[in-house]
Amino acid sequence: MAGTAPPPVARPRANLPDRAFGATLTALGGGVFVVAGVIVLELSKVSGSSVTKMGLWHFITGSEWDPVRDLYGALPFIYGTLVTSGLSLLLAVPASLGLALFLTQMAPARLRSLISFPIGLLAGIPSVVFGLWGLFVLAPILRHDVEPWLSRTLGFLPFFRGPPIGLGYLAAGVILAIMILPTITTIAIEVLETVPGPLREAALALGATRWETIRISVLPHARAGIVGAVILGLGRALGETMAVTMVIGNSPTISASLFAPGYSLPAVIANEFAEAGGMQTSALAALGLILFGVTLLLNVVARILVRMSRKGPSR
């Protein structure tokens, strides 16, 4: 049934209220569009002047951020955002995929509902609370234990050199990993549940072990959806603000060492926007526009992938 209004001949009298109701609903549905439009419009309005003045290329590749001298280069923030999100994926993807596979393929149903509760709880903790925890609990652990140990054992790599500060890329990456773990796990479970039972049973019947079954029949079927889940996690990591702001160290520099303090796109907006004026306001909004563009693109791709793997008609 594609049409919104029934053919006028069928119900001539009851038609007016029905049509009014349908129109109201359609307007409310269109409201979602309006919200999307407003986001794009307002962002480009607020960010307009800085990008046109500096040129997009200079803005993105400039590595100096100095509001006093009216210099705005976004590179340190883009770098920090990419490093911390990349690190968080590295840590969170194996854990959450392992968890999702365990819960869908091996665990008994009762254990599954028992475990999905704390995972939901983890997703519901406000990010400022994670930030608080990161600042006063995680960072000291990293400073006193993890970072000295890493530089002793892996210090030959440039990523693990320099003084152990605690607040920096590593802390931000770890806290992001904890925060995106529920996102990736939940969607991966949803995707894995769509793998048809007979597909697994066929593999098992051929004498495949549990791990072989996962490898040859479950994973190929769910691949697109799992990639989608990971991309959604990445989108969340890129845009996460408070927890990162509180543990990344807030220094607009670029360092190879993961121990060093850095900065991220959302963090600089959070710290500077309320007190900014003139060009700085517009430059910060331009950073927001970059963030919006990237997360929008990632979300579109991810949603398509997740839908593809669900197969069937879209709901």
Partner: protein, 264 residues
Amino acid sequence: MTGLCALGLLVALAPLASVLWLVISRGIAGLSLDFWTRLPAPVGESGGGVGNAIAGTLYIVGIASLIGVPLGVGAGVYLAEKGEGPFGDVVRFTAEVLSGVPSIVVGLVAYGLVVLPMRRFSALAGGVALAVLMVPVLARSTEELVRLVPTSLREASLALGVPEWRTSLRVVLRTALGGIVTAILLAVARAAGETAPLLFTALNNQYWNFRADQPTASLTVQIFNYAVSPYEDWHAKAWSAALVLLLVVGALSLMARFLARRRV
């Protein structure tokens, strides 16, 4: 392989346990009655509370619900009832994608939309920001809930000669109402925990405020300010305020769960 999975489980649950335990153990000491009801004390002075921040959070979230709930639930009903065509598909996809937009970006939008024209930070701006975050979430959950209503119910009502709009409102929506209220409570709980979109919309306030056009304190922004301050006693207050926040958010979620269980 099984061991590896168990390890993943541990990695997931250890931080959760640590966060919850530390918020409770470090926050409970400062959680007197005064902490719930008084204004913040200046640095160095003992006592004081976050009463205005608790009230502010509820106030801002209230404004957000007034704007966001009708829009979000309405869009969800549209998607479930009329959203079969290509337009419905596009709206659905837009809602899904919008739910991934970072909350700080939404704060920027509310800044341009409300703060700039009004020339001041305000509770209204914070409310608009949170409303924008609520709409896509509510739209998606409402759609799923309305779709759960059996077609036979709708057909029975239509067969009795009840017009379509009354069937939608009085039969279909009414059946789904319990679930929708649950979804609203969950969205409200999520909004109450947001910090980033409030930083430069509602800003903060040292005093009580219930005017929509004035800067307003919120629990989350207060936690952030206490946490990044250099003062020991403010750090302690940050933990206590975090405990209050978890209690507020937890109470909302529990209420939602309770309603969900009772209705279904």
